[in-house]
């Protein structure tokens, strides 16, 4: 691969955001980083050969790079890496993975509770006027087509909350995902980082905001981050 090659057109024009799934042009473009082992573990190459997709992590990365995570078949097979943006050949954000639902075999969609719940989650988000979708093993399977979810998988999901989400709407959303036939963990992605819907929907009180420099307790996850403040 030439380092001078221009960046590829991505399926989505927006910048890369945490949870986006990215298809790699080349496995060797990945650069290992801490705190996980910096050298590529043995399982990484076969995992990416089976499905060349990585997930955008919430972490800083050098200019021209994205912090990504590789998932293997076992639960403890996770590897953190940096990916040059030019090595991305396809971008699939969580709000787009449900569009690929019909590509999965119908018997598999019916047999796995976390996959079976995807249309109901999508309908709930549409009804509330929210943008988001599945992440975790379900999101990975929908984007890549590689069987990843298991019969015991939860349904992890994210909602893009660029502006403050009304607590009443959050409560309706929490009740809606609570009524799904599978456990659903939903994160609200604010411009500062992510908070758990379950914690935010409880009502006023501090919530754990997961930002690029780690988690911290905040009263308002949409308030400007002290880390981002600049002098006037």
């Amino acid at each position: 691969m030439s380092p001078d090659r221009p960046p590829p057109r991505s399926a989505c024009p927006s910048a890369f955001r945490p949870h986006d799934l990215l298809r790699l042009a080349a496995i060797d473009a990945l650069i290992g980083t801490g705190p996980m082992p910096a050298t590529m573990p043995g399982w990484v190459r076969p995992a990416l050969a089976a499905a060349p997709w990585v997930v955008v992590r919430r972490a800083p990365a050098p200019d021209g790079h994205i912090a990504v995570g590789v998932r293997g078949t076992a639960r403890d097979e996770r590897w953190a890496a940096w990916l040059p943006t030019r090595a991305v050949c396809e971008q699939c954000p969580p709000e787009a993975v449900a569009d690929r639902y019909d590509r999965l075999p119908a018997p598999r969609r019916a047999a796995l509770p976390a996959l079976a719940a995807v249309p109901r989650l999508a309908a709930l988000l549409i009804r509330l006027g929210l943008r988001g979708g599945p992440t975790g093993s379900v999101g990975f399977e929908l984007a890549s087509g590689r069987p990843t979810a298991t019969p015991g998988s939860d349904l992890d999901a994210v909602v893009r909350a660029d502006t403050p989400l009304d607590r009443a709407v959050a409560a309706v959303l929490a009740a809606g995902i609570g009524a799904l036939p599978v456990r659903c963990d939903l994160l609200l992605e604010t411009p500062n980082g992510a908070v758990a819907l379950a914690e935010y929907a409880r009502g006023p009180g501090p919530v754990a905001l997961r930002g690029p420099r780690g988690p911290r307790l905040v009263a308002d996850p949409w308030a400007p981050s002290p880390y981002e403040e600049t002098r006037p």
């Binding site: 639960r75 403890d76 975790g136 939860d154 992890d156 963990d185 758990a196 379950a198 914690e199 501090p206 754990a208 997961r210 780690g214 988690p215 911290r216 307790l217």
Partner: protein
């Protein structure tokens, strides 16, 4: 899944109230504290991630160098990062005051 048990017989100061912080959800944990019936601290950790017993032991040992309450502490971990574990433990201490 793994269940870890630790006892801290030197932590004997009374706990003012029951505490429940955190979230049952991926990358998070919940921490429950209540007054211990035998006047000593006990910690039970249920974690979805195996093989981190020594790291948990270090984290909880360090926690009890500055926390002296006779609390029964239940931790349910769903693959939280070390930063999230520290945050929830700190939050539990604040709420217990």
């Amino acid at each position: 899944m793994e269940i870890l048990n630790y006892d801290y017989p030197d932590a004997t100061a009374p706990l003012a109230k029951r505490v429940h912080v955190g979230v049952v959800g991926s990358g998070d944990l919940e921490v429950l504290m209540e007054p211990s019936p035998d006047g000593k601290a006990h910690v039970v950790i249920t974690t979805s991630v195996n093989g981190y017993g020594q790291i948990w032991k270090n984290v909880i040992d360090r926690f009890f160098t500055r926390f002296d309450r006779a609390a029964t502490i239940e931790i349910n971990d769903f693959g939280a990062t070390p930063g999230m574990v520290a945050l929830r433990l700190e939050q539990a201490v604040e709420v217990s005051k």
